[in-house]
């Protein structure tokens, strides 16, 4: 509830503008009447209406973090090629909506010159869904944009070509809050802390409620303690699994730590219902160090995963589907990733993740 009533003339609760204002005429005319589509080449798709109308979409890579000058450059391109109409995708790529096929190639050329490769459609790697990292978030265990840039520099050919067995979706979240919703990605890059919170006592006293800090911890690692006569909390370090939930509710429980923060890699998740049901990603590599500016360990690990999958998967087989077919032992063998204690679940549903049959290859 608002504490102060807004002034009479102040506009509030108007919501976003109606989307119709921004739809090109060809879309308005054929809305809901599309018949089929065809991917013409990397990053270019035609959608054909029952009316025969043909809408050309050109999709270009975006770093998502954009300066207003770049947005203005997009606007200029839209004016020149797509009557001023453009959109962005659920993976933050920019799409120009053309009615005129002859303008496709010149647009691609200009986008290229601007540094924005065209691609990301069909059996390719699209942009990495990601989060704030050191650019904006207090929780980050790694940077977001820098890792993404490094990885995509390595994988850009898979964006501009369509040579993979199926779609491959990569996502990055800079902490366990997983704003990038990386938990259902073919490959997920996840920032992790590995040092229990160090209690900043003065801050705690000033800014936090002890009961809520204590109850925030799912493993009961935080407990009330009187230190030098002042009510505070202490952390039973062996119990901490670095979720940072205590930090979310109390700034005095800092987990960020240059020596221990880093990145973990997850594989085999998917969202679509195509063929198989949606799946969570599973842990592939428990820890890689933060090594800015180019995170070579991470880019190498991701490249390896992509290549092994690309080489071995059957047509349409997403990462997780491929692994389900060959089995996890073979996955670890083919990728050369060592299997460790950390891979074995020890959380709530752990027992369900153990191998409960003798269906084994030997």
């Amino acid at each position: 509830m608002p504490e102060v009533q807004p002034k009479q003339q102040r506009k509030t609760d108007i919501g976003p503008p109606h989307y119709e204002k921004f739809l090109p005429p060809i879309i308005k005319e054929n809305y809901g009447r599309w018949k089929y589509h065809e991917i013409l080449k990397p990053g270019v798709m035609v959608t054909v209406s029952e009316s025969g109308a043909r809408l050309y979409t050109v999709r270009a890579a975006s770093p998502r973090l954009l300066a207003i000058d770049k947005i203005r450059a997009y606007a200029d391109l839209a004016d020149k090629y797509s009557n001023g109409y453009l959109r962005f995708t659920s993976r933050n790529n920019v799409e120009f909506l053309l009615s005129d096929e002859s303008k496709v190639d010149p647009l691609i050329a200009e986008l290229g010159a601007l540094g924005h490769p065209v691609g990301g459609m069909a059996n390719s790697i699209s942009s990495i869904v990601h989060t704030q990292g050191w650019v904006h978030c207090h929780s980050a265990a790694t940077d977001a944009s820098g890792v993404v840039k490094s990885v995509m520099d390595e994988l850009v050919d898979y964006f501009t070509e369509m040579k993979l067995p199926g779609k491959l979706r990569i996502a990055l979240a800079c902490c366990l809050n997983m704003c990038g919703a990386v938990h259902c990605s073919d490959i997920a890059i996840l920032g992790i802390h590995r040092r229990p919170p160090r209690v900043e006592r003065d801050k705690l006293k000033a800014m936090c409620e002890i009961p809520s800090v204590v109850s925030a911890c799912p493993t009961a690692a935080v407990r009330p303690a009187t230190i030098d006569g002042v009510p505070s909390v202490e952390v039973i370090e062996e119990r901490c699994m670095f979720c940072a939930n205590c930090y979310t509710v109390c700034p005095a429980m800092k987990l960020n730590d240059p020596l221990n923060d880093g990145v973990s890699i997850w594989v085999g998740g998917k969202v679509s219902n195509a063929r198989t049901e949606p799946m969570f990603s599973k842990l592939a590599i428990p820890f890689l160090p933060n090594n800015p500016p180019r995170w070579p360990e991470v880019t190498e690990a991701v490249r390896n995963l992509v290549e092994v999958w690309a080489k071995n998967a059957r047509k349409y087989e997403r990462m997780g589907e491929w692994i389900n077919r060959i089995g996890w032992p073979r996955f670890f063998e083919l990728t050369g990733i060592p299997f460790q204690k950390e891979h074995i679940d020890d959380f709530k549903h752990a027992g369900l993740t153990f191998k409960r049959s003798v269906h084994l290859t030997h």
Binding site: Y19, L66, I68, Y74, C137, R275
Partner: protein, 402 residues
């Protein structure tokens, strides 16, 4: 505007390479904007030290709203005074993320005047994110945004900015009008969106078909995914075209059907539509030949969320099929009942998916007045720990069974 250029050797490395560079973006902005310039400096420092330099955000916002702004302060304000405040504003995007060049330029002008000149297009939830400004700029920015017809999105324990796939605007598979519904829900829940009053956040995501191009099932408390009830439409002539052009229909289409309900004899595709689970695969593989049926609607699922702190959840089926047309009365009625039950009984910071697990799906359904049906489960319970309250009432000694 800063006098002498700051040295950023680490970040400079990220200007290289074929992928568009966010560092270039920050540098472009930094040429004209002191906040962007200090952001660059602080970020270089983070790259050197391998640690972020932001403090926990305080509560900041615009008058009368409880959400839409994420407060952020540097922990090195002396060194980087221009990012001592660096709040983001979440601006509710138009459904489907469609824009005109004109409106984008106007948005840029506002942000040039009032903020860092940096944006995220878009944030993970779907908002257009204005990245970094000072507390005193919030209200003026908001004024100019509303004048342009834009409003803030969600944050905190409110309805978050709904988002959707492009649906009927550009996709032949949309089984309902995702953008219309998104707009409708956004407008209908303006109060709930701007004034956090729930136990925790609530996200709506709308996908037009089971491909789920906004990942609704993985990251929204209510996931609305289009589907159909009648038969897949088949154009066998077009199927034959695909076969001729080299597609291995037997292996790659039929062989991948999860319901094992397809047959292909070299001329005709036969589908046992009663058994088809509407996975989209065959349609995806042959968009010119196959299409979803005509009796279209959506499946409503509930409860997805990220892992903190009990483990991630995927949404699960609540209503297997519903027709979705204005005025969406049935849907709104359902949502309101859920909000009521969750708001009254949910714990602080308990997402609806966690709430359901705590109280039990059966009890939750009872509370919201929805009948349990087998479509809601992958399988019935495996453990014998049933709370048989009713039975016990019924058969007390006073009223024994015959």
């Amino acid at each position: 505007m800063p006098e002498k250029k700051r040295k950023t050797p680490k970040l400079d490395e990220l200007e290289k390479g074929a992928w568009p560079s966010f560092v270039k973006e920050i540098k472009t902005a930094a040429e004209k904007n002191a906040m962007a310039e200090d952001l660059l400096g602080q970020l270089e420092r983070s790259y050197e030290e391998k640690i972020g330099h932001w403090k926990h955000g305080g509560i900041v916002g615009v008058l009368g709203y409880g959400g839409g702004v994420i407060g952020r302060y540097s922990d090195l304000p002396e060194e980087f005074p221009n990012v001592s405040h660096f709040h983001t504003m979440r601006i509710n995007q138009p459904a489907g993320w469609f824009y005109t060049s004109d409106v984008l330029r106007k948005l840029c002008d506002i942000w040039e005047k009032h903020g860092s000149g940096l944006t995220n297009v878009h944030g993970s939830t779907g908002d257009l994110v204005f990245l970094g400004t000072r507390t005193e700029e919030l209200e003026p920015t908001f004024k100019e945004l509303t004048d342009l017809g834009f409003d803030l999105g969600g944050s905190g324990s409110d309805v978050r900015t709904p988002s959707c796939c492009c649906g009927m605007a550009r996709c032949e598979w949309a089984c309902y009008d995702t953008m219309a519904l998104t707009y409708f829900l956004t407008m209908h829940y303006q109060d709930e969106l701007h004034r956090p009053a729930f136990p925790y956040k609530w996200k709506f995501k709308m996908s037009g078909c089971p491909n789920d191009c906004v990942a609704a099932i993985a990251r929204s408390d209510m996931s609305i995914i289009g589907t159909w009830r009648d038969d897949i439409r088949v154009d066998n002539a077009a199927v034959t075209e695909y076969a001729k052009s080299g597609m291995n229909i037997e292996r790659d289409v039929v062989g991948n059907c999860p319901a094992k309900c397809m047959e292909w004899d070299g001329k005709e595709i036969k589908i046992d539509n009663k058994a088809c689970v509407k996975c989209m695969h065959c349609i995806n593989a042959m968009p010119k030949a196959l299409a979803p049926g005509k009796d279209r609607g959506a499946c409503i699922l509930i409860g997805a969320k990220a892992p903190i702190v009990e483990g991630a959840l995927l949404s699960s089926v609540l209503i297997p099929f519903i027709k979705l047309e204005p005025p969406y009365a049935e849907l709104i009625d359902l949502v309101d009942r859920i909000h009521e039950v969750w708001s009254e009984n949910g714990k602080n910071r308990e997402r609806v998916g966690e709430f359901i697990q705590r109280v039990g799906m059966g009890n939750f359904l009872e509370a919201i007045g929805v009948e349990p049906i087998p479509e809601m489960v992958a399988h019935p319970r495996e453990n014998p720990y049933v709370f048989y309250e009713e039975f016990f009432e019924e058969e007390s000694e006073e009223n024994p069974k015959p």
